[in-house]
């Protein structure tokens, strides 16, 4: 043996984390660019959902003299076209995919690395956003040409919207990861995931703008995380929220991100103990 083993020196913690996010996001972009055509077809498929909602609500609005509950045809168009961007932004590492991660042995590999597992998913999907947003632009232009959205945001609304779509990303990441922990106890978590997604559809503004829901549903939505991942980011750009509501909305996103992170941390500790007990 020629030399005594010594570890390599390390970079600083914060600098390394920033470096990791930059590197992982670049890796994600390069990885997604390998499948440009597949990405585009995926995007087109995803756009079908809001277009159906848009056509239905536009038809209803026209039958009611051009508006439903004060929302005009042009505002519906604006809502659902912005929806497509928000939806792309809040796609995260979904709860059911934790099962794949465990089954394929990827989790064991991730656990051997000195980094909180949330960072991998946050950084990878954050990089992915840059690809999908680039692909989304021509789709948004096409939809705008067909449906004529009524959209006139202020500078503040644009700034809040940019922050809010990332806020939506973080809130959704935390809660999907927390729900994903269920995979450590059962391989049949689909029923719970479906219930969660159905609740999200109704209470987030994904299916219907929350303004069209009964008052009690709107109140309920204010106290749950879902609205801050769909309805709020969309409303921040297309609605006429006061400055106070905009800032409170961003505050709510921070709060739900922290709550989600705390819930995830508790669930993760229990989950990993179970994983380590039954086999990796």
């Amino acid at each position: 043996m020629s030399s005594q083993a010594t570890p390599l020196p390390e970079e600083g913690r914060l600098r390394s984390l920033v470096d990791f996010y930059g590197t992982m996001m670049r890796t994600s972009v390069v990885s997604q660019l390998q499948y440009r055509v597949a990405q585009y077809f995926y995007m087109l498929g995803m756009v079908a959902e809001p277009v159906i909602y848009l056509v239905v609500w536009t038809t209803i609005a026209r039958q009611h003299g051009g508006a439903v509950n004060g929302i005009t045809v042009g505002q519906f168009a604006a809502y659902y076209i912005v929806w497509t961007l928000v939806r792309n932004m809040n796609i995260v590492f979904g709860a059911p995919f934790w099962e794949w991660r465990i089954r394929e042995g990827r989790l064991a590999g991730d656990l051997l690395r000195p980094l909180n597992i949330l960072h991998y998913d946050l950084a990878f999907f954050a990089g992915w956003k840059f690809v999908v947003v680039a692909l989304w632009i021509p789709i948004a232009v096409g939809l705008s040409a067909v449906f004529h959205p009524d959209l006139h945001p202020s500078a503040l609304e644009i700034v809040v919207f940019v922050a809010a779509i990332w806020g939506a990303y973080f809130v959704r990441s935390m809660f999907q990861a927390t729900i994903g922990m269920l995979n450590f106890w059962t391989t049949r978590g689909a029923a719970v995931f479906d219930l969660y997604m159905a609740t999200e559809m109704l209470l987030s503004g994904r299916l219907v703008p929350l303004k069209l829901m009964p008052g009690w549903v709107q109140t309920l939505a204010d106290f749950l995380p879902f609205k801050w991942t769909f309805g709020f980011p969309i409303e921040s750009l297309v609605g006429s929220l006061s400055t106070r509501s905009l800032l409170l909305g961003l505050g709510a996103q921070v709060m739900w991100t922290v709550i989600g992170y705390v819930l995830f941390t508790f669930a993760w500790r229990a989950a990993i103990k179970r994983f380590s007990a039954v086999g990796a």
Partner: protein, 327 residues
């Protein structure tokens, strides 16, 4: 063999898995809804050993012996049911970042590189994960690439590499942070002989250059013979042997082999021992260990002997004998 200088210390380490089980059929299925039956599987039962810095130790055993479970406990992937494990002064199950930065585990059948990208992209990601300084990373990467001769491979998407090529770049990715302890779980599984040899040479070189401690499991005895002076043999979760590879035969082999070439090639040798091979003029006899000297002396006195060698049985046979004796 416990000393304070041990880099890996294992004492009475035990792992018991609870495995659900039920009889087939509807009735058993209904019954299991009310009362779930489980069975305890003792994967590892109270094993103890110490490994000194820089040692390369072979961890041998048949499938299900407890090798991988032990390696997973030492790398922090599994919580022990009881007992103690310390590696580099850390308790592995705590998975402290300082510990994870100083060890690596390579699993021969697992891929941790980005599938669609060239390995260089994954290496770059590992640089960031392990917080390596760029200059150190580049030096280490280039050294490993040269040692494993993968300069042409690291620019190809991983999905386009053969199994052996993928294993080599996987090893590079796992060692970029220059770990002090390597857990290698079947690193040569499924590889052809040339590739196995290349990886063996590499592990020996890495150990020599960096003084790393290596715990290796492999079903290929050539790996063990080439790399490990010391072996730990485990079966049914218990250690059957811990010592020099060379003394394994003395302890467990019940016979030796005598190779002999006689002037009279047609001579009958059935009375001297079991004839296990006849290759041209050379005859190989298997004789009980205690009778070896006596049989050799008889051969020399009874025949015109042109050549005679006495050898330990192949290590594969010895290992089989170890397992057979433990049944």
């Amino acid at each position: 063999m416990s000393t304070t200088a041990s880099i890996i210390h294992v004492s009475e380490l035990t792992k018991i898995f609870k495995v659900p089980e039920r009889e087939p059929g509807l009735r058993a299925a209904a019954k299991s809804l009310i009362r779930r039956k489980t069975r305890d599987v003792h994967a590892v039962e109270g094993i103890s050993f110490d490994i000194e810095p820089g040692e390369v130790v072979g961890f041998l055993g048949p499938n299900g012996a407890g090798k991988t479970t032990t390696l997973k406990m030492l790398s922090g992937l599994l919580y022990p049911t009881s007992g103690e494990a310390r590696v580099l002064g850390h308790i592995p199950s705590r998975r402290e970042k300082d510990y994870l930065r100083r060890m690596t585990m390579v699993m021969g059948n697992r891929n941790q590189l980005q599938w669609d990208l060239p390995a260089l992209d994954s290496f770059e990601l590992n640089r960031a994960i392990y917080r390596l300084r760029r200059a150190d990373y580049v030096a280490m990467r280039d050294e490993l690439v040269e040692l494993l001769d993968v300069g042409d491979l690291v620019r190809k998407p991983v999905r386009n590499l053969s199994l052996g090529e993928r294993m080599k770049v996987e090893i590079v990715g796992s060692l970029l942070h220059r770990p002090l302890v390597l857990f290698l779980d079947e690193p040569t599984i499924g590889l052809d002989v040339t590739m196995q040899k290349r990886i063996r040479t590499f592990v020996a070189d890495y150990n020599e250059r960096h003084g790393a401690t290596v715990l290796l499991t492999s079903h290929y005895m050539a790996d063990v013979e080439a790399l490990c002076k010391r072996v730990i043999v485990i079966h049914h979760g218990r250690i059957l042997f811990d010592g020099d590879l060379s003394s394994l035969g003395n302890e467990f082999a019940a016979y030796k082999t005598i190779g002999v070439v006689l002037e009279d090639g047609d001579a009958r040798l059935d009375d001297y021992g079991e004839i296990v091979d006849r290759d041209g003029d050379r005859i190989t006899l298997r004789v009980p260990k205690a009778d070896t000297s006596r049989v050799a002396a008889r051969l020399l006195s009874d025949h015109e002997v042109l050549d005679l060698t006495i050898e330990e049985p192949p290590i594969e046979d010895v290992i089989e004998m170890v397992f057979a004796q433990s049944r």
